[in-house]
Symmetry: C2
DNA sequence: GTATTTATGAACGCTCGCTATCTATACTGT
DNA sequence: ACAGTATAGATAGCGAGCGTTCATAAATAC
């Protein structure tokens, strides 16, 4: 950094671009190590250029050198192979909910270094901050990463999050929640860029990453509340900040949103609470049914799906009704977005094929292109994984210099 | 172009980047001409670099030189000023519908050079091709642009368009429509990249461009049929190819899509035909009303809105019902997309404030963030304008070398 | 043990952009 | 009318980076 060629493009920018190009090539093939010759081929650069870039990246700690692996025996002199040194810039993801705090630490290549969960019976806002600190420290210790090494952190919170101020706008069902300043708290521990985002958004990001780069994904988080994240070609769609709030979709012809109510019509109709309530009612009306047997007095959402899986007609009717309501609510968005896939995660996703097939049948009647309908394979880790993913994106975007022009407004 | 440094990034790429950077700066300030000193400031490059780039661009015909304008008298030697030479790469936009063909030619800076419309009473597919040729030639003549100069062309067609093959998938109400190969026909006349896209998409692109760069736009085209285009931060959202098909949103609790029917439930409920039908029925039921007076036997969509504007309660009830149905259908998508603005264009948009206010009232009851609701200012030219816009984007994307890395998959 | 294959390392020449200097032009003030 | 001054354009020298080429090292196959 001898000369301060601040904004524009000089010859030193060219070097940075090429170094970035090499780093990017290594990243893409992670975790497989690459030979220099392969880098030459993939980047299209000349060998000395690549070699120089590799040296620089090795010095800076972004790459690590592998000894010639015994398995890779070819003719000629064995090649030096390099791969991403994940610990160069580990990132931290944080999933905060009223009843559970999860923290994950990931290395640059996206490998999980640690994952720590802590559940509790509903903390107050003050207690929560203490728990968060503890869990973060545990996760750091397990990953053997010092706090000051963390290059970026992303926290997930329920509710609508203002992307820039990092404040929670719409309140989840915890008193004092919007008052706590998660970003400030985490930044006090980590000294790195800290971002906050909606949990459904982050889950969507994780699922999209697992599915591969392109296409449009609508990822629904379905539990007590209902939210969705939209990922288009790898980028999160935020709208003005409240995109994906499917919980507030009206279900009845006369439904109206009450802004003071923290739950929306669809949540009241098919949230896990509502499903359990429907089940209880059906069990009361049909005391002989398998559903009534299974559930007993404390009939649960899971019981409804279990009974339906056992072909209990009463439970099946409930599932049918839930699926119909959900599909009718979602169909307009599917028509408008025309997503490649719709993935359902969250607690209700554990219902499995019973629910999925019913929704699929309904959705097929209401849409033109029928997107793939799947259950999230990531289960409850989706949100933390997405948080780590977003932190990773942040680090890479900072490191791989987006060529000046595109950024220029 | 001395050495064929094919893919990678050498020193010649650097030059290209800088030239592109200069060109981009000129483009942004179009149509205002720029002094070299201003270019130096905006690009952050050194003066000799800019000077060389300007020379090169002048030689290549992308820039044109202005004499020192008398108005701009400052101290010192008068500066040479350069601006975009629009005719360096003019583009052509084409809007083809069953009853109307519109062709526009635009220069690089987005100035319209010509716009030719031709209406007819429903051509056959074969006649249509002939009409298209004629109108294109007229537009070229009026713009004084030889056909071989056109750098890109985009055609708009109703129906769902496969982005890559350029085939129309879903059939509009013209026999033989999907059989005609618009792209092939136009390419035969122009010898340049020709693309085909959905008309609602292109209208959305035009409206988004008129509104300015960022944000999410949901642009509804509301006529006999209903479609919408989605533009996110200047980029069109296509989904798997059929995004924005709001015409197929179900309106009644028992609606189901019939894939063989070319019109969807919402179109049957609130398309301009349906509005007119509702009006006729209301007039029959209330022969004394202003609506019945206005419309007479041949009651029209426009009559309904005219009567409503004159505060005829019968017509107002019809408008209210249409607005309610439309808002209920659109609300879920507004919740999911959370757009910055919803703009309504197409024939029904001529209804004006009467309809808009009614929709706005309904939508306010059903969404969290209330997007701006507006009527399209572009009226019937939206589609051609969008087609030209997209052709322009294509030209610029080809000319401003997207730096290798971002493009690499 | 020799030949072959593959990867590494160093030296040369090219192009490009930046800094600094010089020249050209027109307005302004006396 | 003439000199002063301020701004813009043209030119030369410097430094940095990339690409090409040649020589060298290491391991495998015959």
């Amino acid at each position: 950094m001898g000369k301060g060629t601040l904004g524009g493009g000089g010859t030193t920018m060219l070097r940075r671009i090429n170094v970035a190009s090499v780093l990017d090539a290594v990243r893409r093939s992670a975790p497989a190590p690459l030979r220099v010759a392969e880098l030459v081929e993939r980047t299209g650069l000349a060998r000395p250029t690549v070699a120089q870039a590799v040296d620089e990246l090795l010095d800076a700690g972004w790459l690590q050198q592998h000894g010639p692996d015994s398995a890779d025996r070819s003719l000629g002199r064995p090649a030096i192979r390099v791969s991403l040194r994940g610990r160069a810039a580990p990132v931290l993801g944080l999933d905060v909910g009223p009843h559970r705090v999860t923290v994950g630490v990931s290395d640059l290549a996206g490998r999980k270094l640690s994952l720590v969960r802590r559940s509790g019976p509903g903390w107050t806002a003050q207690e929560l901050l203490g728990v968060i600190s503890e869990v973060i420290n545990e996760a750091l210790a397990e990953a053997e990463v010092p706090a000051e090494d963390i290059a970026a952190a992303v926290a997930a919170s329920p509710g609508i999050v203002d992307e820039h101020t990092g404040r929670v706008q719409l309140v989840p069902s915890v008193p004092g929640w919007p008052a706590i300043d998660l970003i400030k708290h985490v930044r006090g521990m980590l000294d790195c860029p800290v971002m906050l985002d909606n949990d459904a958004n982050l889950a969507a990001l994780a699922i999209a990453a697992a599915r591969g780069g392109t296409g449009t994904l609508l990822a629904v988080q379905w539990g007590e509340r209902l939210g969705a994240g939209i990922v288009i070609d790898g980028r999160l769609h935020r709208g003005t900040g409240a995109a994906g709030e499917i919980g507030f979709i009206a279900t009845d012809a006369d439904d109206v949103i009450n802004p003071d109510d923290s739950r929306g019509p669809l949540e009241r109709a098919v949230g896990s609470e509502a499903i359990a309530a429907l089940g209880r009612q059906a069990a009361l009306d049909n005391p002989q049914s398998r559903l009534a047997e299974l559930g007993g007095d404390q009939l649960d959402t899971a019981d409804v799906f279990a009974a339906a899986a056992e072909r209990d007609p009463v439970a099946q009717a409930v599932v049918q009704r839930v699926a119909r309501t959900f599909a009718r609510a979602l169909a307009p968005s599917v028509l408008v977005l025309d997503p490649t896939a719709v993935v359902i995660g969250g607690g209700v996703a554990r219902a499995g094929a019973v629910l999925l097939d019913a929704i699929s049948d309904q959705l097929r009647l209401l849409t033109l292109n029928h997107p793939k309908l799947e259950l999230s394979a990531l289960a409850e880790d989706a949100v933390v994984t997405g948080a780590m993913r977003m932190a990773l994106d942040e680090v890479w975007q900072r490191k791989l210099p987006t060529p000046a022009m595109t950024a220029t407004t």
